[in-house]
Symmetry: C2
Subunit: 211 residues, 2 copies
Amino acid sequence: MKLFNYWRSSASYRVRLALHFKGLSFEYAPVNLVKGEQHQAEHIARNPWHSVPVLQLDDGTLIPQSVAIVEYLEEKHPTPALFPRDLVARARMRAMVETVNSGIQPLHNLQVLNYVKDELKGDTKAWSEKWIGQGLDALEAMAKTSSGKFMVGDAFTFADACLLPQLFGARRFASVDAARYPTLIRVEAECMKLDFVQKARPEAQPDAVPA
Amino acid sequence: MKLFNYWRSSASYRVRLALHFKGLSFEYAPVNLVKGEQHQAEHIARNPWHSVPVLQLDDGTLIPQSVAIVEYLEEKHPTPALFPRDLVARARMRAMVETVNSGIQPLHNLQVLNYVKDELKGDTKAWSEKWIGQGLDALEAMAKTSSGKFMVGDAFTFADACLLPQLFGARRFASVDAARYPTLIRVEAECMKLDFVQKARPEAQPDAVPA
């Protein structure tokens, strides 16, 4: 497998977490979003929505969209399981995944922030803080009732693989107050103790640019 | 089951399509987004992200987020199947679902449009046309390679249950040129022949307001 991705992209980070959690080996293929490589013909042929990540299977099949990729990996390589077995717990997990994936993150991705800044002459910091604040508030409320050691009970799941990149992305654009999100920050610290999480972190990727 | 939803919400429409496709009966509980009922304490307790739809199970369990709800329904009530059986076809379907769910729709929902208009004094028509146009272009390109009679092969799937609401929503905010999206428009016409689709349409709901 080959993963077209970018070190700092939060959706890419979700998929790297899933791959490393499952111990699956993959070729790392960087797509530099800051240089605009996602808009080149070569990448649009992989994903007409111009985004990363895209997973390429060994037979050439291309799968874009982080949630579609992780659902595929869970179905194709079910062990170790990244999803709870209980149907209601799975639904709670997916509700948190989507609160990040379709709720918060789409509103502070690079192309939206550029449009707010360049076309609308808007304050991107205020914009990001509104959506990220509102989103993390929701996630904190959901985690409060479902979490144990991790976001859903005591096992690392896809919800944790969405939380870590969302907090990483949030800190780039807004302040993240630990007192406002006690559950999220506690779970994040727990996750950071895990070896596979360290392997998936943005800073550990070959295309990472030191701060 | 009870579905908290709103007739014109495109994410609500996706879940109604899944429920009617599977022949599952449910109580219709309207949440009026225009009156701001999604921000009332009663609804925030159902979904801290202040959105519809939310599915309430008979034991009181609450599931927010349309994708989480539909994945739950497919796991709990697998027949008739709304998802293909083949893993790669499932991944292709989910990639289209997420192109709508996390790509296009979050950028033209009511609260984002209100912020663009009220806080940024931006042109919401130009804003909507940019994201909807770019998103439907991507969806058309994906559908061209995967579609038969419907978005993925010859059976109605969750991808179709995302296409119909996305086109419905798009027409409210932007012009949708049939010549630019021949595959999407052809599939939409095919879907509209189905009885369960007619039952799920916004105009057929008890809280619909005539134009």
